[in-house]
């Protein structure tokens, strides 16, 4: 599957890049394409392109505050996850997300 996502924490220092890395790492391991935009103290890092978003099966949002540009994801399934969990257990979180999205697409068929 293909995922895009946003990570954003209040300080924007540590959890934002760590959660992004955790999700991308989990994607590599589990065989999914994951591209994460970081909204932190560095501004926007690794900004998602419109083509990334349109190709994605779902959007992962790991943020403890409101994010910028959520309207870009209109029409896409959005999964919200807890930042702390993503950082500690990226693979478990991604596995759950894949399961939810798989069930969603099957039930809509």
């Amino acid at each position: 599957m293909k995922f895009v996502g946003i990570t954003s924490c209040i300080a924007g220092l540590a959890h934002t890049p760590m959660a992004a890395k955790a999700l991308e790492k989990a994607g590599d391991k589990l065989g999914h394409e994951v591209k994460i935009e970081q909204q932190g103290a560095m501004g926007i890092v690794n900004q998602l392109k419109a083509s990334d978003i349109s190709a994605a099966d779902a959007v992962i949002i790991a943020a403890d505050q409101s994010i910028e540009g959520e309207d870009r994801f209109k029409g896409k399934p959005i999964i919200r996850v807890k930042l702390g969990q993503v950082v500690s257990n990226g693979e478990t979180v991604l596995t759950k997300i894949v399961k939810v999205i798989t069930e969603k697409t099957q039930s809509s068929k």
């Binding site: 300080a11 560095m42 807890k82 500690s88």
Partner: protein
């Protein structure tokens, strides 16, 4: 410089998280990195309250974006014996990277380095290297590599 040998404390003994954070606040005050010890400590604790900064087994990255901080700095503490960090995952912490940043600081090179460090801490090989540090220069060399990226 984000960190000097004076900000590295190896093989220390503390009984819990708060003791470590108080120790770092004390050192930062003595080194003129902050201007208010108790404010920094409170900001650390407030941050821990949002969710624990013990993010992986063995590693915690307490951080504060605090009005008490005068300039961005990093502190490193390694422990003789692991301690509880009051994290929901029950992680035991053995090394601590404490990140101190002034409240208004954003988008600077220092922030970029600290973000890169946080990100590298997710790498297994980097984690291993961090756990093996028993000399100040080893840590400084590891950080140098990050700054070059």
């Amino acid at each position: 410089m984000l960190i000097t040998e004076k900000q590295i404390y190896l093989k220390q003994t503390f009984k819990d998280r708060n003791e470590v954070l108080a120790f770092i606040a004390e050192q930062a005050m003595n080194q003129d990195v902050i201007n208010n010890k108790s404010l920094l400590f409170d900001d650390f604790i407030a941050r821990e309250g949002e969710y624990s900064t013990a993010v992986q087994e063995g590693i915690a990255i307490p951080h504060a974006k605090s009005a008490a901080v005068k300039k961005p700095q990093l502190y490193f503490v390694s422990l003789e014996e692991p301690i509880s960090w009051a994290s929901p995952d029950q992680y035991q912490v053995k090394v601590i990277f404490a990140i101190l940043v002034p409240k208004e600081e954003a988008g600077t090179k220092h922030i970029a380095i600290l973000s890169a460090l946080a990100s590298r801490l997710m790498d297994d090989d980097f984690q291993e290297a961090v756990f093996e540090i028993d000399q100040e220069t080893q840590l400084l060399n590891l950080l140098k590599k990050i700054e070059e990226v």
